[in-house]
C-alpha cells in the first residue's frame, strides 16, 4: 500500500522526518504509532500529497505522492483527527457533499451517503445538523465521509478519539470489518495502543522522525524470547530460585501468573523438569507474548530520548 524511501522533511530548523523508509503491504490494517512530534502527521500529509518532502520518495498504491497527489486523493479516504465539517449541512448532506467532491454523480452521492451512514450506525439523526452531534457521532460521520467514495485505502487519524467505550468498540468493529474485506488497506494512526492491537496486523512505530520498529504484530509480540507464562500450585519459592540459578528470570508472586524467561537453548521441558524436582504442580504453561505496549515501550526505550512514562500514560488512557 505504502512505499516510502529515505523521506526527509524539515520545517525551518525542525527536522520532522529524518530519512524514513518503510514498506507497508496492501490489505488489512496497519497501525502507525509514535509519541507526539514523532512525525506521524507529517508522514500522512506527505502521503496525501499535501506536503512536499525535502528529499526521498513516497508512493501510495503505487502512485507517487509528490507528482500525482490528486490521483492518490481520489483513491484514498481520510478521516482527520480534528473535528471538521461543512457548516449548515445535515449528516446526509455533508457525506453526500464529500462524495460529490470525490466525483460521484449527485444521485449516486446521496444514495451512497445513506448506505455508508447505515453502515456506521447513524439512523434518523442523520437528518440533523452535524453541529448538534456528540463527539462520538461526529467520529462516525468522519468515517462515513472517508469511505463514501469507496476508497482503495483509508487513512484514519485517531479514529476512536472522544468516543465512549461502547462507541469505541463499535468503531473498532467497523474498522476491523472493512479491513477484513481484504481489498481496502487501512492505516490507523493512534495513541491508543489497545485500539491498534485490536484491529491491526502490522505496525510501524515512529520516533523523532525515524522508523523505530516495523513489522507484523504477531511476529513482534512473539519476539519476546524464551519466555513462558506459568502458574504453579504449591510453594513456588524453590522453583523461582532454581530458575535464577540456571540464568533465567521469573516475575510474579505466589499464586499469580509467573512470567518465566529462560536462557537460550532451554525450553518448556526445563520448566516441567524444575517443577517436578521442586514438587510443585504446573496448572498453566504456555509461551508468553509481548503486549503491543511492551513492543512499543521497547521501541521507545531503544530511542533513548523519549518520555516513555508519559507515553505509557497515554497508552493507559483507554479502558
Amino acid at each position: 500500500m505504502i512505499r516510502v524511501k529515505d523521506l526527509r522533511k524539515s520545517f525551518a530548523s525542525v527536522e520532522a522526518l529524518r530519512g524514513v523508509s518503510v514498506e507497508i503491504p496492501a490489505g488489512g490494517a496497519v497501525g502507525l504509532l509514535g509519541p507526539n512530534g514523532a512525525g506521524k502527521s507529517t508522514l500522512i500529509r506527505i502521503l496525501l500529497g499535501l506536503l512536499k518532502p525535502n528529499s526521498g520518495t513516497a508512493a501510495v498504491l503505487g502512485i507517487d505522492a509528490a507528482s500525482h497527489p490528486l490521483d492518490i486523493r481520489s483513491r484514498i479516504g481520510y478521516m482527520p483527527e480534528d473535528d471538521c465539517h461543512i457548516p449548515g449541512l445535515s449528516a446526509v448532506g455533508y457525506v453526500a457533499y464529500a462524495a460529490e467532491l470525490s466525483g460521484l454523480p449527485p444521485a449516486d452521492a446521496i444514495r451512497r451517503a445513506h448506505e455508508v451512514l447505515d453502515y456506521v450506525g447513524m439512523d434518523e439523526e442523520r437528518y440533523r445538523r452535524v453541529e448538534t452531534y456528540s463527539s462520538g457521532m461526529r467520529q462516525r460521520i468522519k468515517l462515513a465521509q472517508a469511505i463514501v467514495h469507496d476508497p482503495q485505502a483509508l487513512f484514519l487519524d485517531e479514529p476512536t478519539d472522544g468516543m465512549d467505550p461502547s462507541g469505541r468498540d463499535e468503531m473498532l468493529e467497523l474498522i476491523h470489518d472493512i479491513a477484513s474485506l481484504g481489498d481496502v488497506s487501512i492505516l490507523v494512526s493512534s495513541h491508543l495502543l489497545h485500539d491498534v492491537e485490536q484491529v491491526c496486523g502490522h505496525i510501524v512505530v515512529l520516533g523523532t522522525g525515524t522508523v523505530r520498529l516495523e513489522g507484523n504484530l504477531a511476529t513482534l509480540r512473539r519476539a519476546g524470547g524464551n519466555s513462558f507464562e506459568v502458574r504453579l500450585k504449591g510453594d513456588a519459592s524453590a522453583f523461582l530460585k532454581r530458575v535464577g540459578e540456571m540464568g533465567g528470570e521469573a516475575h510474579g508472586g505466589e499464586g499469580e501468573m509467573l512470567r518465566v524467561t529462560l536462557p537460550a537453548g532451554t525450553g518448556a521441558k526445563q520448566i516441567v523438569r524444575l517443577a517436578d524436582e521442586e514438587h510443585v504442580q504446573i496448572r498453566h504453561l504456555r509461551p508468553a507474548f509481548n503486549t503491543l505496549e511492551d513492543v512499543f515501550m521497547q521501541a521507545m526505550r531503544d530511542e533513548g530520548n523519549v518520555d516513555v512514562e508519559s507515553e505509557k500514560g497515554a497508552s493507559h488512557a483507554h479502558p
Binding site: 481520510y78 482527520p80 471538521c84 465539517h85 457548516p87 449548515g88 464529500a98 454523480p105 447505515d118
Partner: protein, 300 residues
C-alpha cells in the same frame, strides 16, 4: 438473503470530472447563502434600479416618437436642433448600460459583504479544509468554486438584469438590425460583469481567508470600500490631484466600465492606470488567498 443489508458495500460507478467538483463547491456555497432570508430580500431590493433603467430604455426606444410629437406641438421646432444633440440609439444604450453597471457597483458591494465573508472564513472555523484538500481538489478548484458563488450573486445584480434590459430594448425597437449596431453594448455587459466579479470576488475571498470570524471579514470589506472612497475624495479636495480616483476600487471600476462601453471617461485621465490598479489588486488578492490556502492545506 437479508432484507436490509448493512455491511460495507463497494460503489461501482463512473466518477465525474473536475468541473462537477467545482460546481459542487459553488452549489454548497449558494445553499448556505440562500439559507439567509434577509439576503434574498436584499438581492431583490438591489435589483430595483433595473426598473428605472428599464423605463429609460423604454423612453430611449420612444425617443423619435417623442421628438415627433414635440415638434408637432412646438410648431415644427426640432428639439434636437435646440439642444444641439442628436444622439443615436447605440450611443444612448452605451451610456445607459455603462451607468447601469456603475450604479449597481454599490448594491454589489453590499450583497458581497453579506455573501462573501463566510465563504472561506467558515471553512477556516470548522476546519473544513481537511474535507476539501483530502479529496481530488486543487487550491484553484476550491477558489474557483467559491468565486463562482460571488459570481452568481453579482450576475443576479448586473448580468441577468443587464441582459434582460438589453433584449427588452431590442424587442421595443422591433428591428433586429439593432443587434448588429449594439452588439458592443451586449459584450460590454458581459465584460463589465467579468470585471466586477473578478475584483469583488478575489478581494472578498482574500479578506475571508484572513479570519475565522465572518463579522470581522465583513467589516474589513466595508472599510476597504469606504476608506478607498474617503481617500479619493480627500486627496481630490485637498490636493486636487486628477489621479486621486486610483485610490478607490469603486472609481477605478467606474473608469474601466466607461472605457468598456466607449462612453466619456469618468475621470479625464488615461483609463489604463485604473486597469493596472485593478489588475494589481486582483493579483495581490489571488496571491494572498493562495498563500493562505497553501499554509492551511499543509497545516491541517
Amino acid at each position: 438473503m437479508p432484507i436490509h443489508e448493512r455491511s460495507y458495500r463497494h460503489w461501482e460507478g463512473k466518477r465525474l470530472g473536475r468541473v462537477h467538483r467545482i460546481l459542487a463547491i459553488t452549489r454548497s456555497g449558494m445553499t448556505l447563502a440562500l439559507g439567509k432570508r434577509f439576503l434574498v430580500v436584499l438581492v431583490l431590493l438591489c435589483i430595483t434600479p433595473s426598473i428605472v433603467f428599464g423605463v429609460l430604455i423604454y423612453a430611449a426606444a420612444q425617443l423619435d416618437e417623442f421628438m415627433r410629437i414635440a415638434q408637432h406641438l412646438l410648431w415644427g421646432v426640432n428639439l434636437k436642433d435646440i439642444l444641439g444633440v442628436n444622439p443615436t440609439l447605440p450611443e444612448i444604450w452605451r451610456m445607459l448600460f455603462s451607468k447601469f453597471l456603475i450604479v449597481q457597483c454599490l448594491p454589489v458591494a453590499l450583497v458581497v459583504a453579506c455573501v462573501g465573508p463566510e465563504l472561506v472564513s467558515l471553512d477556516l472555523r470548522m476546519r473544513a479544509f481537511q474535507v476539501y484538500f483530502s479529496r481530488p481538489l486543487t487550491r484553484a478548484d476550491y477558489v474557483l468554486g467559491k468565486l463562482m458563488v460571488i459570481g452568481v450573486f453579482v450576475a443576479m445584480l448586473t448580468l441577468i438584469p443587464g441582459v434582460l434590459l438589453y433584449f427588452t430594448g431590442v424587442v421595443l425597437e422591433k428591428d433586429i438590425h439593432i443587434v448588429v449596431e449594439t452588439y458592443g453594448v451586449f459584450l460590454g455587459i458581459l465584460g463589465g460583469y467579468v470585471l466586477i466579479t473578478l475584483v469583488a470576488g478575489t478581494v472578498m475571498l482574500a479578506c475571508s481567508s484572513l479570519s475565522r470570524r465572518s463579522g470581522y471579514v465583513a467589516i474589513l470589506w466595508v472599510m476597504l470600500i469606504i476608506l478607498g472612497e474617503v481617500a479619493y475624495r480627500l486627496v481630490l479636495n485637498l490636493m486636487g490631484q486628477n489621479w486621486s480616483h486610483l485610490l478607490s476600487l469603486n472609481e477605478n471600476v467606474a473608469q474601466v466600465l466607461s472605457r468598456i462601453f466607449g462612453t466619456a471617461l469618468e475621470f479625464p485621465v488615461d483609463w489604463t492606470a485604473s486597469l493596472l490598479v485593478l489588475g494589481a489588486v486582483v493579483l495581490a488578492a489571488i496571491g494572498l488567498l493562495f498563500a493562505r490556502l497553501r499554509s492551511l492545506e499543509g497545516a491541517h
